[in-house]
């Protein structure tokens, strides 16, 4: 954990530890030099179909996620 004081802030933003650590991991990946950077980013592709169920039926076609970090705008900071 980079900073202990940061915990309440990202919790307040609705992030879980998983999201937080993913963003940190992505920052580290971005710090790599070129051949490794593209390789490591290419490796961590996120794709799956998630659908919520209600009353014994799946709700509308599930979302297939392409953007792993729903806080990607934060990464730029």
């Amino acid at each position: 954990m980079a900073s202990n004081a940061a915990v309440p802030f990202w919790r307040a933003a609705g992030m879980t530890y998983i999201t937080y650590s993913n963003i940190c991991a992505n920052l580290v990946r971005n710090c790599l030099k070129e051949p490794f950077k593209a390789e490591s980013i290419h490796r961590e592709k996120v794709h799956f179909n998630l659908s919520k169920w209600a009353d014994g039926k799946p709700q509308k076609p599930g979302t297939s996620l392409q953007d792993p970090y729903r806080f990607s705008n934060l990464i730029e900071i």
Binding site: V7, I18, N22, R43, E44, V46, H47, F48, W53, G56
Partner: protein
């Protein structure tokens, strides 16, 4: 395929038999001659040849599938074995309590998207149902999170009202931690739980998979358990650095534990799937080979019989001519 042809032929023959009830009464011998194939001296080998061709094609396909599964297995096996290091420290710290009694359980059933891989999906579903029965009761609630197309199809039949989330197409890209952690995050955000029970097939060897349950407790439950003592009683002897409370640390830990355990479980399950597919395809190509042997034998026998018949006919015809001279 050939069976279908026979069945169709049979259906066409039936009314013709039924239409002549007198034939059966007359005499069994004469009716046999009438029902026998008229004007055909030898049996056509066409059907057997077609069947042999289709069996050969199926064998080719299953062999190819076995090869593909074997190479995929090799790729995923190493990663699955390496990922075991991720959950081991958590189990050392928090323990694994499959028997814990909580109000809200969520069973995460892992299965494959594709079939033809033996019984791994049905075992996972069976274990999940057993967990459902064990943990349901008055004031207790069990819900399912289903990963993979196959378990979804089976669970849909009898427990569709208890499914809260279903996830598919996880295996499209090679599995990686980022993907599984995002999935774990989504599951955490969408379900309320006291205990998550992850059901998957742990990979032992190419032919052995153990249906396994990993339990991840919610931070509140961990705290409660550690106060009571028991297995989690040692948790209080750890010092906490920084200004965080035990609750915060435990929440972070529980979330991270879930994503790590999920990562390992998904990999193990993928590995078991490949292993199961490999052995299933191996036995089916062996079966196809045996069937092919039997068919070849029948085919050759029929061929030989027809040749013999023809020879006999020629020889007897010739000898009749000789006798006439």
């Amino acid at each position: 395929m050939a069976m279908a042809v026979f069945r169709r032929e049979g259906r066409r023959l039936l009314p013709s038999i039924a239409a002549r009830p007198i034939a059966a009464i007359r005499s069994p011998l004469s009716s046999d001659q009438e029902e026998g194939l008229l004007g055909i001296r030898s049996i056509s080998t066409q059907v057997v040849r077609n069947r042999m061709k289709s069996v050969k094609n199926i064998q080719k396909i299953t062999k190819a599938m076995k090869m593909v599964a074997a190479s995929k297995l090799r790729a995923v096996q190493g990663r699955a074995e390496n990922s075991r290091g991720l959950w081991q420290p958590f189990t050392a710290l928090l323990g694994d309590n499959p028997s814990i009694d909580v109000k809200k359980s969520v069973v995460v059933t892992l299965s494959s998207d594709k079939g033809l891989c033996g019984g791994i999906n049905s075992t996972a579903v069976k274990v999940s149902r057993a967990l459902y029965k064990l943990n349901s009761g008055p004031e207790k609630e069990v819900q399912f999170v289903v990963v993979g197309e196959k378990a979804k199809a089976i669970m849909f039949r009898d427990s569709k009202n208890d499914i809260v989330l279903s996830v598919t197409e996880l295996n499209k890209n090679p599995l990686n931690y980022a993907q599984v952690s995002v999935l774990a995050d989504d599951i955490l955000k969408n379900v309320e739980f006291d205990a998550l029970r992850i059901v998957y097939n742990k990979f032992h060897s190419v032919v052995a998979f153990l249906p396994t349950v990993s339990t991840v407790l919610s931070p509140e439950i961990i705290e409660k358990e550690s106060e009571v003592g028991g297995k989690l009683g040692e948790l209080d002897s750890y010092e906490i650095e920084g200004g965080e409370t035990k609750g915060e640390i435990l929440q972070n830990l529980a979330e991270f534990q879930f994503s790590c355990v999920m990562f390992n479980a998904v990999l193990e399950n993928a590995c078991s799937e490949m292993g199961a597919r490999m052995s299933a395809m191996d036995s089916s190509s062996r079966n196809a080979g045996e069937m092919l042997d039997r068919l070849t034998l029948t085919y050759n026998r029929t061929r030989q019989a027809s040749i013999t018949t023809e020879l006999i006919e020629i020889i007897s015809g010739a000898s009749a001519l000789e006798a006439a001279k």
